[in-house]
C-alpha cells in the first residue's frame, strides 16, 4: 500500500500519519505537495490535521481550492479511499465530499485531550480492524470541531450507517458530557454515501505506535491496508456495508 499524504501550508500532522503508515504498518507513504497536480499513483489519500492556510476565512476553506484538490476530489468521487483527519475533515466538508460543516466548539475553547470513540460501523474500509461497539481512546486537538448539519442530513447519516465514530463516556454511552465540542448527536466521524471517504476530528495517527503510549488508532490504517490488499480497495464497499450504505457506487475504485 502506498498512502499519499497531502501537505498544505500549515499542515502539521503529516509526519505523524507518515510514521503510522511506515513504522506502524511497514507500508509506504508519499508526501503530496499542495501545488502539485499529481497523486503519484497512491492507493489512499490522507488529508492530515493542522491549520492549512492559517484557518483563514473558515477552517479548510482555502485549502479546498489548492491545486492538488482538483485531483483529490476526482480521486474521491471515483471511489478512491480518502481519509480526512481533523483539518482534513474540515477540508472534505468544504469540498462537499462530506455533508455538513465543522464550526467553532460549543465551549469556544480549543480542546486538546483524549476522547473515547465508539465504533458505530466496523464495516467500512477504514474500520474493519475494529468491531461494532468497540470503544477507542483517541485524542482530539481542535477549536472548530463541532459537527453541524440539518436534521434531514443527520437522519440520513444515521439511517445509512454513515456515522462511523461517536464520542462516548467511560460506559460507552453518547452523553452530552462526553461530547467535547457540541457536535450534533455526538458525531465524531462520518463517511460518504459510497463508503470511500471518511472524515473524523480525532487523531488516530497520534495513537498508532507503541512509543506513543497507545495503538488504538492504528486500526484505521490497518483497515485501509486490508481494503487495498484484498477486498474493498479493489472492488468498492464490502457487500454487507454496501447494503447498509444507501447509494453505494458499484465497482468504483478498481485498480487503485
Amino acid at each position: 500500500m502506498n498512502v499519499g499524504i497531502v501537505r498544505f501550508p500549515g499542515s502539521n500532522c503529516d509526519a505523524d500519519v507518515y510514521r503510522a503508515v511506515t513504522e506502524g504498518l511497514g507500508e509506504r507513504a508519499t508526501y503530496l505537495w499542495h501545488k502539485s497536480h499529481d497523486l503519484d499513483g497512491v492507493d489512499v489519500v490522507v488529508l492530515p490535521g493542522g491549520f492549512s492556510y492559517g484557518d483563514y476565512l473558515r477552517a479548510g476553506a482555502i485549502a479546498r481550492f489548492s491545486p492538488i484538490m482538483r485531483e483529490v476530489i476526482e480521486f474521491a468521487r471515483g471511489g478512491g479511499l480518502t481519509l480526512g483527519i481533523c483539518n482534513g475533515f474540515q477540508v472534505l466538508c468544504e469540498a462537499r465530499l462530506l455533508p455538513g460543516a465543522l464550526v467553532r466548539n460549543q465551549g469556544l475553547r480549543f480542546r486538546c485531550h483524549d476522547t473515547r470513540l465508539r465504533v458505530e460501523n466496523a464495516n467500512t474500509p477504514f474500520t474493519t480492524a475494529y468491531r461494532d461497539g468497540d470503544v477507542l481512546r483517541i485524542p482530539i486537538a481542535h477549536g472548530e470541531g463541532q459537527f453541524v448539519a440539518d436534521p434531514d442530513t443527520l437522519d440520513a447519516l444515521e439511517a445509512e450507517g454513515r456515522v462511523v465514530f461517536r464520542y462516548v463516556d467511560e460506559r460507552g454511552e453518547a452523553t452530552p458530557e462526553a461530547n467535547p465540542n457540541g457536535s450534533a448527536r455526538n458525531i465524531a466521524g462520518i463517511i460518504d454515501p459510497a463508503g470511500r471517504v471518511l472524515g473524523l476530528m480525532p487523531h488516530p495517527e497520534r495513537v498508532s505506535l507503541p512509543v506513543l503510549g497507545k495503538t488504538d488508532g492504528l486500526g484505521v490504517f490497518r483497515s485501509l491496508l486490508d481494503a487495498v490488499r484484498g477486498g474493498a480497495g479493489a472492488t468498492g464497499v464490502p457487500a454487507e456495508a454496501g447494503a447498509r450504505i444507501a447509494g453505494a457506487a458499484a465497482g468504483t475504485g478498481a485498480g487503485r
Binding site: A61, F65, C93, E94, A101, V103, R104, Q106, V148
Partner: protein
C-alpha cells in the same frame, strides 16, 4: 467602461446554527450590567473593492464569490451591500 465599487459582505451564522460566540458576548454584557440585551449574533465583515460594468454586475459577481468561497451556505448567511467608489 468599468466603474469602481466598494462591496461589503456581512456574514452571520445561519438561523438555527448555534452561535456560541454571540451567546458569550451576550453573557459578558449581562455580567457588565447591561440589561435588555435580548440577542447577540457574531459574524464577520469582508470589504472588497471591485471593478465592474455597473452596480448590478458587481453585486452578481460578489454573490457568486460568496456561494463559492466567502461564505459557507450550509452554516452562514450573507448580505451584500454595493456602493460606488472606494471607501473614504
Amino acid at each position: 467602461m468599468t466603474e469602481t465599487y466598494s462591496v461589503d459582505v456581512r456574514i452571520t451564522p445561519r438561523e438555527g446554527i448555534l452561535d456560541p460566540e454571540g451567546q458569550t458576548i451576550a453573557r459578558a454584557l449581562g455580567n457588565l450590567g447591561y440589561e435588555g440585551v435580548t440577542a447577540v449574533r457574531a459574524g464577520r465583515l469582508i470589504e472588497l473593492v471591485i471593478e465592474a460594468e455597473d452596480a448590478e454586475a458587481a453585486r452578481a459577481t460578489v454573490e457568486r464569490m460568496c456561494e463559492e468561497l466567502i461564505a459557507n451556505p450550509i452554516i452562514e448567511d450573507y448580505a451584500v451591500r454595493v456602493r460606488e467608489g472606494v471607501p473614504g
